[in-house]
Symmetry: C2
DNA sequence: TCCATTAGTTTGATGACTGAACGAATTAGT
DNA sequence: ACTAATTCGTTCAGTCATCAAACTAATGGA
């Protein structure tokens, strides 16, 4: 867990690891005194003092006052994560918008933006340029001005080579093999944000991180986040770490085969989960007369989903039937996840959220019916509480997480 | 990867981590000189010298001679993993036998035993007593005598709480909630093996480790091992680490739902993988007149599988059909694994191995047809080359692995 | 023979943690 | 009010593993 990151361990490594441990401990048990931190980490009081002093210098931790309880002995100085200085920025590129979210160390959302942008027709290069603009703009915003940045992350609905920061294949955007981080780094050269740590990842993965850090299931070490956008993707967090697989394809839950001779899927096969419980299928059955011929994409989607919810609310038979069958298939897919991964929670995100009241009951029933473990291995199935821009926030939180786990890119030098 | 294991990092921690790094480097590039190790780890020559001296003292590494190549400069002293001292012992409990395997640091099998024992009717306590006997016997064997032990592991076909060393539920043995490690530790107290690090894990997990370290797919970081015993289980190794899930249920691939109204499975549901491609189903279709009424278990299984292979070889229609359909269903399950986990290899173990010539072609075809990634994400599907006692060897190798990764329980103190 | 080159060891310095002792701040008891 | 007991945090010397650089060792080539 601690993970002095790869490579030989020297003095810096040990220091960084311990800084991470102390930071995490303070986050978990704040507000608390140095003495408590020492006791619960096993480090010496002396070491903790030194480490805390360092963290205070860097603006990660602050002293908030003395212990109020009336106990024998000198009262301790209370420590808390300092939410007033550092900030992490998360960007999310989607088919027709760029979402921005800035999060402080206390995981509070400091700023949130929604920028209209047609990423699919603009192409990757233009999008990178726009991302640069947005980033510079946001960083200069009065809310963030003069606050040091941890880094910036970008969520893309695509297959990503995260270590390299490359977008391998983004079908909905029409991008292939675009080295996004490399381009962004180049574009930011010379600007005030030069050298900022940049992170690129898949929207489902970052959605999972957002749930892990910010949702009401926070701190659940083994969870799966299901995106309900045009497709269905999964972000899998096992033991607090993202599962990526050998080539980054892990979590392509949308195309697991569920029904032998099922309906034709966009991928060319039959009976994929996406063809049974994808938005497209739900909408075509729930509000058939409103759905155009071609594939449903972009901003129209939200409207159609809302209409589906209205009709279900009103008791419309077609809408209810569509949601019931979709929920059941989703439940079978969840059962598969449960049998293979045994997560403690599966979170439904994206457009599944507004439809959750009708999807969840059949989904839970089917999941329970097809899980091997008696009670589904104790797995909860819940709608996300984070809204549509979960991936943007998740990206920002992933950066905060990197600080805590000691895999921190670089906690900024003394800001004072 | 290095992973100064949890808890605060001190001097010992950093030392152990670096010892692990050097050990692993030597294993990967042996035979090699200290200078090469220094260059490829990033550590100083001085540090490497110190670490290597330590490893030699502990009997993990030995010098084998000078560099033979004729090059300018002083020739280096070649280092290799020392396979002649330390040994790890792996035990495997199964329905009707206990398998033993001892492996040296070079991953060579030093000793292998097969002990008849009816674990299901003897009960857990008697089995633990027998394991103790076997362990003491093996440790006293001339082949192992005077060689220091890394530890002993026990593979059980069951749901395991590995950190605790407890067998949660072993349906085929009829055990529930048996604290195996605790009992073994107690039973070994007073014997020469007192204090020996003990490890308990699931047979599929340890099979995966065996493939990772010893199979012809060695060093594949992301692989899945499928056991073909009475049931079908999966050991999942992601990024070189075992996937366990929230409560140890991960890898219950035998009961993922594949067919809506499929045949009744032993678990009470319909259409599970096990009911479509389990040994029981294959045998009932391939050699119907030889299979008794009740569930097939124990030693009879091997015979029936061999007969099935013979008939398939001879072109028997029923046998071929049974294997073809089972292979196809297996392939669909593999496709699900590939879509979710994106492993670089799936290994078929247990009784799947003798049947592989007939199972593999339809399996590969179905897997390719139902994977989202173009070429199955580059996933290879191969039969295991390790035979039936893979789990025993895997357990021993897991201990060796623990040494390499620096998560080593305790490399023994100076043996000299 | 002498030099260039590479291998491995020795030596002193640095940095980070530890342990014990100390000063600080507060409550409990007389 | 004053002392004892406690608990908090800091200071200071001590330990230990790494690092950098100098040094010895062994070989090939001029």
């Amino acid at each position: 867990m601690v993970g002095v990151s790869d490579g030989p361990a020297g003095f810096q490594a040990i220091r960084e690891a311990n800084l991470g441990i102390v930071l995490r401990t303070i986050r978990q048990t704040a507000p608390c005194s140095r003495a408590v931190v020492a006791a619960s980490t096993g480090l010496t009081k002396a070491t903790v003092s030194s480490l805390v002093a360092d963290l205070i210098d860097r603006g990660l931790v602050c002293e908030t006052g003395l212990v109020t309880e009336r106990r024998v002995g000198r009262p301790g100085m209370l420590l808390t994560i300092d939410g007033s200085t550092l900030v992490a920025i998360g960007l999310e590129v989607n088919v027709d918008y760029i979402a921005v979210s800035a999060v402080d160390l206390l995981e509070r959302e400091v700023l949130s933006r929604h920028v209209e942008f047609d990423a699919s027709s603009a192409g990757p290069e233009a999008c990178a340029a726009r991302l640069r603009e947005v980033l510079l703009e946001v960083a200069a915003d009065p809310l963030l001005r003069d606050r040091p940045l941890v880094g910036a992350s970008t969520a893309v609905p695509a297959l990503i080579d995260a270590p390299a920061g490359t977008v391998t294949n983004a079908p909905n955007l029409g991008w292939r093999d675009f080295p996004l981080r490399e381009r962004l780094t180049a574009l930011l050269a010379g600007s005030p944000l030069e050298g900022l740590p940049l992170l690129v990842d898949n929207d489902a993965n970052l959605g999972a991180v957002a749930e892990y850090r910010g949702g009401h299931l926070a701190r659940t070490l083994d969870l799966v986040y299901l995106t309900g956008e045009v497709g269905i993707g999964a972000g899998v967090l096992m033991n607090g770490e993202l599962l990526r697989g050998a080539s980054g394809f892990a979590g392509e839950v949308g195309h697991i085969p569920l029904l032998g001779n099922g309906p034709l899927c966009a991928c060319g096969r039959r009976g994929c989960l996406e063809s049974l419980a994808g938005m497209d299928t739900i909408l075509r059955r729930a509000v058939p007369e409103l759905v155009p011929e071609g594939p449903v994409r972009g901003s129209g989607l939200g409207e159609l989903v809302a209409e589906t919810a209205r009709r279900a609310e009103a008791g419309d038979a077609a809408a209810l039937a569509a949601l019931r069958t979709a929920g059941t298939w989703l439940g079978r897919a969840v059962a598969t996840l449960v049998n293979l991964l045994n997560p403690s929670a599966v979170v439904l995100g994206g457009y599944f959220v507004p439809l959750a009241p009708w999807l969840l009951p059949p989904c839970r029933a089917a999941a329970a019916a097809h899980s091997f473990a008696p009670d589904g291995g104790g797995c909860r199935i819940e709608p996300s509480a984070l809204g549509l821009s979960a991936a943007a926030r998740g990206g920002a939180m992933a950066l905060i997480d990197a600080l805590d786990t000691g895999a921190l890119p670089l906690p900024p030098a003394t800001a004072a």
